[in-house]
């Protein structure tokens, strides 16, 4: 496991303070830090209003809320797919909102993104999909193939490496998406509704996978509208951020 996932790049990897909300002036640089972040789309719709929270390195955090609450927007601010209209988004202490366009690709390489619509490429097989992040960072072909297979193995798809994504089931497609996200050994994983279209067994499977990444020190941030799911994980020690109409509600779990 540790071979595929780099431990989160915190300077000191001491026991992760899971249920405590780290103060903004924490001694450990938060993996993700939102400070009075607002996001207003052209046209005036305000998706997020003055959001502030910190996520410590290695934490497992759920963002919960009804659809349209701003969960996807919040996740998109982290890899700078969207830019905050006000406030600052800091990743490992780096202000993403002020980042130059040319620096953003390098930020994204240190993030594992799992998209709601998966965004798999259907003109290539499973292995080639997982190879893509390695190719664009310039790994040698042999090393890239080795790591891509290791990632596929991790999500249990090694036997299907030649399969086209269309021929995979919904759960398998989601796992392929996860394999692509972890192949670069990111310190932070972001997942947008990773279990939305899956039946209970597959969903549990996927969630167990995220839990195992969290166990080896990866910071994991999962957006879900499924309140039962987040409540269950909250009981298991995860933090849950409640989003309601673009505002952060009382932090359940604090």
């Amino acid at each position: 496991m540790a071979e595929f996932i780099r431990a989160s790049p915190s300077p000191a990897k001491h026991p992760v303070t899971q249920n405590a909300t780290p103060a903004v002036t924490s001694a450990v640089t938060p993996a993700i830090s939102f400070r009075n972040v607002s996001k207003r789309y052209p046209g005036g719709y305000e998706a997020l209003t003055s959001i502030s929270f910190d996520i410590a390195p290695g934490e497992l955090v759920f963002i919960s809320g009804h659809s349209g609450a701003g969960k996807s927007t919040l996740l998109k601010l982290v890899p700078a797919i969207e830019r905050a209209s006000a406030g600052a988004v800091l990743i490992n202490g780096q202000n993403v909102s002020a980042m130059k366009r040319t620096a953003i690709p390098y930020l994204r390489r240190n993030l594992g993104l799992i998209f709601q619509d998966q965004k798999l490429l259907h003109d290539r097989n499973a292995l080639e999909n997982v190879l893509l992040p390695l190719q664009l960072s310039g790994s040698s072909p042999a090393e890239a193939a080795r790591r891509a297979r290791a990632a596929l193995d991790k999500v249990g798809l090694l036997a299907r490496e030649k399969a086209n994504p269309v021929t995979l089931s919904g759960g398998e497609q989601q796992r392929l998406c996860i394999a692509r996200a972890i192949v670069n050994r990111p310190g932070i994983l972001l997942a947008d509704e990773p279990t939305a279209n899956l039946d209970a067994d597959y969903a549990a499977d996927i969630m167990a996978m995220f839990k195992s990444f969290h166990d080896v020190g990866v910071t994991v941030l999962i957006a879900t509208h499924d309140s039962k799911l987040s409540a269950r994980h909250q009981a298991g020690g995860a933090r849950v951020l409640q989003l309601d109409h673009g505002r952060l509600g009382l932090e359940a779990g604090a």
Binding site: I81, R108, R109, F115, L121, L132, L136, N184
Partner: protein
């Protein structure tokens, strides 16, 4: 450095894979570019050959002086001394009218015709070989000789050479304009090809950007494609030209043989061909660059 190398290899593989995905349209594109390039290149090669012909003619500029039929020996002596005094004349040869007639009679079929003549219609003549291609002093000599008594006509070849020069200048401009127009055409063809490619690869570009591809990484395969398309088009143009030149040389050989010449169209030398290929590839790159800078920013992940 290694990462840089692998990225370039990867980009090249991507380009190759994309070409393989649509082999027919790729081949047609290359063919269109090849034909478009063959036109100005062919015109250029013809121009080179015309210049060569002009050069052959200009190396032996001659002036012919024809005397009146009733010219006396003193008139001829006067012309000789005028020719000797001029710096423009290198050598001269006197062709007496009898000798001219005798030479003419040797020609096939001419003997019979000339036999019917009662008197020799040919005048005494001088053939002057001019020193160098300095037309100004040659013209001075030509005017001086024309003023002498009993000189009927002075024919200077420089008029012809000047006309040829002007004509070559015209052809040169035509070649330049043709080249410029078809270069723009090639850029436009590449621009459009790359535009279509970018549109079909929209998903791939979007996903690549999402997982951390730099703009350079996304642009590079398109640049390779443009360069490859231009370069291959250039190769096609050279092949077309070689075939056309070979065919034309067959006829030219027959034509030249009637002049006892072994003149042939000369093809481009390998250096010129190489320059041409670099030029074609450069045009392909330019088209790709314009297209990529115009269209790529439109694909931003949301």
């Amino acid at each position: 450095m290694r990462a840089w190398f692998h990225q370039h290899v990867q980009s090249f593989r991507t380009t190759r894979a994309r070409l393989k995905q649509s082999p027919l349209s790729s081949a047609l594109n290359v063919l269109v570019i090849g034909v478009a390039l063959a036109l100005p290149l062919g015109a250029y090669v013809l121009l080179l050959n015309m210049q060569r012909v002009a050069g052959l003619l200009a190396t032996a500029p001659e002036m012919s002086v024809f005397m009146s039929a009733n010219a006396a020996a003193t008139d001829i002596a006067q012309v000789v001394s005028a020719i000797k005094a001029s710096p423009a004349a290198k050598k001269h040869r006197f062709v007496p009218r009898d000798q001219a007639l005798a030479e003419l009679k040797k020609n096939e079929g001419m003997g019979d015709i000339l036999g019917t003549l009662q008197s020799n219609p040919l005048p005494d003549a001088f053939v002057i070989e001019l020193a160098g291609s300095d037309t100004a002093t040659a013209e001075v000599l030509s005017r001086d000789l024309a003023k002498l008594p009993k000189v009927a006509h002075v024919h200077l070849d420089s008029a012809f050479i000047r006309r040829l020069d002007a004509l070559l200048g015209l052809v040169r401009i035509a070649v330049f304009v043709l080249t410029a127009l078809l270069a723009v055409g090639l850029i436009a063809v590449t621009f459009n090809t790359i535009r279509l490619q970018i549109l079909t690869l929209r998903d791939e570009i979007e996903v690549s950007k999402l997982i951390g591809a730099t703009n350079a990484f996304i642009r590079r395969p398109f640049f390779y494609l443009g360069i490859l398309q231009g370069g291959l088009g250039g190769v096609i143009a050279l092949v077309i030209l070689a075939l056309a030149g070979g065919l034309m040389n067959l006829e030219i050989a027959r034509f030249a043989a009637t002049y006892d010449s072994n003149f042939r169209l000369q093809a481009l030398d390998w250096q010129a061909a190489l320059h041409f290929l670099v030029f074609a590839a450069g045009l392909g790159w330019a088209g790709a660059y314009l297209s990529v800078s115009k269209h790529l920013w439109q694909i931003e992940p949301r």
